[in-house]
C-alpha cells in the first residue's frame, strides 16, 4: 500500500533525502513501481500549479524537480527491468548559439527529467550542428531550443531550416522557448509549439509525444 500523502509531501516540499528514501523503500517492499511513479508525477504537477499560482518560485521549483529526479533515478532502472515499460522519450535540449541565458532551459530540462524523460541537456551557446548531431546520435523524439534574445531567436529558425535541408525535420517534434518567443513566431518557423513556462512546456511535450 502506497502512502500517497508521504510520497507527495516529499516532492512538494523538495525533500531530496526523503524522496530517495521512499523510492528505495518502494523498491525493497516490491511495491507497484508504476503506481509510485504516478504518485510522484501527481506531486510534481501540484508543484507546477503552485508555481503558476505565484506560491512557488524558482528555488522551490528546482528543489522539487531535484527531489523528483533523485527518486526517478532509483525507480527507472527497476521499471526498465520489468515487463510493463513506461515510455521514456529522449529529449535534446539547449540554448542556441550566441545566447548564454540558460535558466529557463535548465528548468525545462529538470522538469522533463523529473517526469522520466531521458534528457540530453547541451547547455548554453550551443551550435546548430551540435543540436542536430546529438539528436541523430541518441535518436531523439523531441528537440527543445531556447533563446532569450530576439537576435538569437533567429537561430531557432536556422536549426529547423537545417533539419529540413537534411530531410530529417519530420523525425523530431520541436519546441521553442524563451521570453521573446510568440505563437506567431513558432508557426512562422515551423516549430511544433512553445509554452509560457517550464510547467506548460512539460504538458505540451507529453501531448506532442503521445
Amino acid at each position: 500500500m502506497v502512502d500517497n500523502s508521504e510520497y507527495k509531501e516529499a516532492i512538494v516540499s523538495g525533500n531530496i533525502p526523503k524522496a530517495k528514501e521512499l523510492a528505495q523503500k518502494a523498491v525493497a517492499d516490491k511495491l507497484d513501481i508504476n503506481k509510485v511513479i504516478d504518485t510522484f508525477s501527481e506531486a510534481i504537477r501540484e508543484v507546477g500549479d503552485l508555481f503558476e499560482e505565484g506560491e512557488y518560485f524558482l528555488p522551490e521549483l528546482m528543489r522539487s524537480a531535484e527531489a523528483m529526479k533523485a527518486a526517478m533515478a532509483i525507480l527507472t532502472p527497476v521499471i526498465a527491468e520489468g515487463k510493463d515499460k513506461r515510455t521514456s522519450a529522449r529529449v535534446v535540449i539547449g540554448t542556441i548559439e550566441g545566447d548564454i541565458h540558460d535558466i529557463g532551459k535548465t528548468l525545462v530540462a529538470s522538469m522533463l527529467s523529473a517526469e522520466g524523460y531521458e534528457v540530453y541537456d547541451l547547455g548554453a551557446d550551443v551550435p546548430i550542428d551540435d543540436f542536430i548531431n546529438k539528436a541523430i546520435e541518441v535518436d531523439a523524439h523531441l528537440i527543445c531550443i531556447s533563446a532569450l534574445l530576439t537576435t538569437t531567436m533567429l537561430g531557432q529558425k536556422k536549426l529547423i531550416d537545417s533539419l529540413k535541408e537534411k530531410g530529417i525535420r519530420d523525425k523530431y517534434k520541436i519546441l521553442v522557448g524563451g521570453a521573446p518567443v510568440t505563437k506567431k513566431w513558432t508557426e512562422d518557423i515551423g516549430a511544433d509549439g512553445t509554452a509560457e513556462n517550464a510547467i506548460s512546456a512539460v504538458k505540451l511535450a507529453k501531448k506532442l509525444l503521445e
Binding site: 528555488p59 548564454i100 533567429l154
Partner: protein, 299 residues
C-alpha cells in the same frame, strides 16, 4: 592652479530632494539596432565601436537625461567569462566610463552600471555569496577608479546577489548606490523570480547601504505603475523606476516594442504621482521616450 574651474553640480542625493531626475533609456536594444551581433557582449563595443556607444549616451543627454548609465551592465568577471571575454574586464569598464565622460554635459551624471552575474545560488545554481561579492568588488573598483558619480545595481532577480553587489561597492566607495530589482507580477503581487517580495528587497538593500531603491525591466510601464506605492510604503529613500516599453515581439526579423513614447510617459507620470523620484526606461525605450518624459517633467 589658476584657470581650472571645477564644475559645481549638486550631489545626486541633494538634487533628488529638489526635483525629479531623468535617467536614460534602453542601451542593449539600441546597440543591437546599430548592428551589435547576437551573442556579442555589448561591453565589447566600448573598445571596438566606441563611437556607436558614445553616440547613444549623447543622444540620451540631448534628449533630456540627467544621468547616463555606463555600458557595463554585463561587465563583471562572471558574466564576461560566460561570453569568453574574461580577459578584458578592466579595459571594458574603464573605457565605458571614459566614453560617457567624453560627452557628459556640465550638469550631467555618470552612473557606473552593474548588472547580474548570470550565476545563481543553490538550488538553482552553484555560486556562493562570497563569489558574488568578489565578482562585484572587482567591477566596482574599475568603475570607481575611472570616476563615476554614483553606482547602479540593476535588474537583479535574487536579493542576495543584489545585497552582495551593494556591499561590495560599499567596501571600496562612499558614493551613492541605486539598487534596483526586477519584479514580475503574480496573482499574489510583485515578486522576483526567486520569490523575493518588494518589502524584503527594500529592507535588505537599505540595510546593505543602498541610497536609492527601485525597479526596472521585465514589467512594461503599465504593469509597473501599481508597484510604486508598494516601494513607497516600505522606505523613505528616493525611488527609481525604469520599466520596459512593453514586451518585445519579432516581426519580419526585427524586434518591435509596442508601447509608444506617449503611452510610456503617461505611465511614468502616474509613477511620479505615486512617489517615484528618478525615472527612465529599460528595454525597448530609446531617446524619443526620454525626450517625451523630459518635456512632460520639466514642462
Amino acid at each position: 592652479m589658476g584657470g581650472i574651474s571645477l564644475t559645481s553640480k549638486p550631489a545626486i542625493l541633494d538634487l533628488v530632494k529638489k526635483r525629479i531626475i531623468i535617467l536614460d533609456g534602453g542601451m542593449g536594444s539600441l546597440l543591437i539596432d546599430q548592428g551589435l551581433p547576437p551573442g556579442m557582449p555589448p561591453e565589447f563595443w566600448n573598445i571596438s565601436n566606441p563611437e556607436n556607444v558614445q553616440a547613444c549616451h549623447k543622444n540620451y543627454f540631448d534628449a533630456g537625461s540627467d544621468v547616463v548609465f555606463t555600458n557595463t551592465f554585463g561587465g563583471s568577471r562572471l558574466k564576461l567569462m560566460a561570453h569568453k571575454h574574461g580577459h578584458s574586464i578592466e579595459e571594458y569598464n574603464k573605457k565605458a566610463v571614459e566614453l560617457v565622460k567624453g560627452i557628459c554635459p556640465e550638469h550631467g551624471y555618470i552612473a557606473g552600471d552593474i548588472g547580474p552575474s548570470g550565476a545563481f545560488l543553490p538550488p538553482v545554481g552553484t555560486i556562493t555569496v562570497e563569489e558574488y561579492f568578489r565578482n562585484f568588488l572587482e567591477q566596482a573598483r574599475y568603475l570607481s577608479d575611472a570616476g563615476v558619480d554614483f553606482f547602479v545595481v540593476e535588474t537583479m532577480v535574487d536579493v542576495k546577489e543584489a545585497e552582495a553587489a551593494v556591499k561590495a561597492i560599499r567596501e571600496i566607495s562612499s558614493l551613492p548606490i541605486l539598487a534596483s530589482m526586477t519584479y514580475k507580477k503574480t496573482k499574489r503581487g510583485y515578486f522576483t523570480i526567486m520569490g523575493n517580495s518588494v518589502s524584503e528587497c527594500v529592507k535588505i538593500l537599505e540595510e546593505a547601504g543602498a541610497d536609492i531603491v527601485g525597479a526596472n525591466c521585465t514589467l512594461g510601464s503599465d504593469e509597473m505603475v501599481d508597484l510604486v506605492p508598494l516601494l513607497k510604503k516600505e522606505t523613505n529613500l528616493p525611488i527609481s523606476v525604469k520599466p520596459n516599453a512593453g514586451q518585445p515581439q519579432l516581426v519580419n526579423g526585427k524586434t518591435i516594442y509596442n508601447t509608444t513614447p506617449q503611452d510610456f510617459t503617461r505611465d511614468i507620470m502616474l509613477m511620479i504621482e505615486a512617489g517615484a523620484n528618478l525615472v527612465g526606461g529599460c528595454c525597448g525605450s530609446n531617446p524619443e521616450f526620454i525626450k517625451e518624459i523630459a518635456e512632460k517633467v520639466k514642462g
